[in-house]
Symmetry: C2
Subunit: 257 residues, 2 copies
């Protein structure tokens, strides 16, 4: 996939003096981060993360888009084993409750899945959203009230991709009661929990998402999810072919780096 | 910042046979996408986007993390001028309502801001979330019900960064009534609107977010937003210095590419 569309893109650029596309190598590095990023649970190494490196991924988060330039995020870095053990206890409680929600067959699979690396990861990071940060009226939030939460999620995804480039794995733990977690970390009630992330160097990144490998769910064909012009319009043939060919190549590891 | 922490990282890696970090150039390409990404409103060029390129950014979105591997997103590509004009009408209505919410001084500034490029961008993309895609019980959504929406936001951020690497600008239009927009595009009521994005080549990417340049809000010092161990713990000195130094260098364009 490295050269896919390259000729097309090049001929297209010749008309313009000032092009802003990255060169092919730099562009592919961005795709490599995107396509090889994994939700890491069981592969964390105990190595400490150097401050400079941690600062880089936090700055990546801080440069996410935010509605009305609110920058509504707060970051609580947790490394103390006793605090992580308390958070792990909250996970265990929620996990047991969750298991009861699945039917018998799925429950057995669910229980066998490793779903977090809270105690093993050297650093964990709680991301919260301060919805009051810029007063009650915020540009871009007037009609979609959830935009500040969404901005904070963009910060998580920036951090996740930066971490991948740094060789750091990230796992998002969402099986936890949000209010209990906030209380555990002393986060004021008025803030909203966005994410609790486990971060650290890893023994390996898996080739595929673990739930895909476990047969829990399959990767959906992207052509089924793309509609042209309106909901009723299916994906056109040329675009559909490009989507499908690329998806096959990504699955085959074309961006393994 | 290109070499910031490089020595530290290198010496740290020597213990490990199998390191997963990108080399410095590839890593910096990821940071360049993150730090030079902008919310584009007024700089769209009318050039069509080649199918191969559009397919790449859509595949980037499709490879976002998703709770329980739900892949809950749907994408509606809108290029027809008449549809974009209808969406623009919805923006204008919401924008007029929003202006009334600001106090007098801010209202005048607000009205002068260019906040969307719906008609100018050659492609617009509506991202919606199908919360029913994987049945009622989803791994990781049992205790945080909004995780499927958050997964869809991660897809937006993946697309946004991929687009930056492709030299494509993206602008997120949130000043619009979500239900009216869904109706306009025929999206079923049961889906949730996540984003309406304008996408296209651009005459330029600004050095800073427009709201920062306009003096609407300033970039917050990241050290103020990082808490160590719990909410009451301020950022330690070594990490704080690294965060601040890097933030200064990013502001000075260290990753301008």
């Amino acid at each position: 996939m490295e050269n896919l569309g390259e000729n097309l893109a090049r001929s297209d650029l010749s008309d313009h003096h000032d092009d802003h596309a990255f060169d092919a190598q730099a562009r592919d590095a961005v795709y490599r981060a995107i396509f090889t990023r994994r939700d890491v649970r069981g592969q964390f190494l105990p190595d400490a993360i150097p401050d400079e490196q941690l600062a880089r991924v936090l700055n990546a988060a801080h440069h996410a888009p935010s509605v009305g330039f609110m920058q509504p995020w707060d970051f609580v870095l947790v490394r103390a084993p006793e605090t992580k053990a308390r958070v792990h206890g909250l996970f265990e409680k929620a996990h047991a409750e969750a298991a009861e929600m699945f039917d018998d067959e799925r429950r057995e699979i669910y229980r066998k899945l490793k779903l977090e690396g809270i105690r093993e990861a050297p650093v964990t990071l709680c991301v919260a959203c301060d919805r009051d940060r810029a007063g009650p009226v915020v540009i871009g939030r007037t009609h979609q009230r959830e935009m500040d939460l969404f901005s904070s999620v963009c910060a998580v995804q920036n951090l996740w991709l930066a971490a991948r480039a740094e060789g750091l794995g990230v796992g998002w733990v969402s099986i936890v009661d949000a209010e209990a977690l906030k209380e555990c970390l002393g986060i004021p009630e008025r803030l909203t929990l966005i994410a609790y992330l486990c971060i650290g160097r890893v023994s390996r990144f898996f080739d595929k998402p673990e739930l895909e490998s476990a047969g829990w769910r399959r990767r959906l064909p992207l052509t089924d999810l793309v509609h042209e012009e309106d909901w009723g319009g299916s994906c056109g043939e040329a675009l559909g072919t490009a989507l499908g060919d690329q998806q096959d190549r990504i699955a085959a590891g074309a961006f393994g780096g």
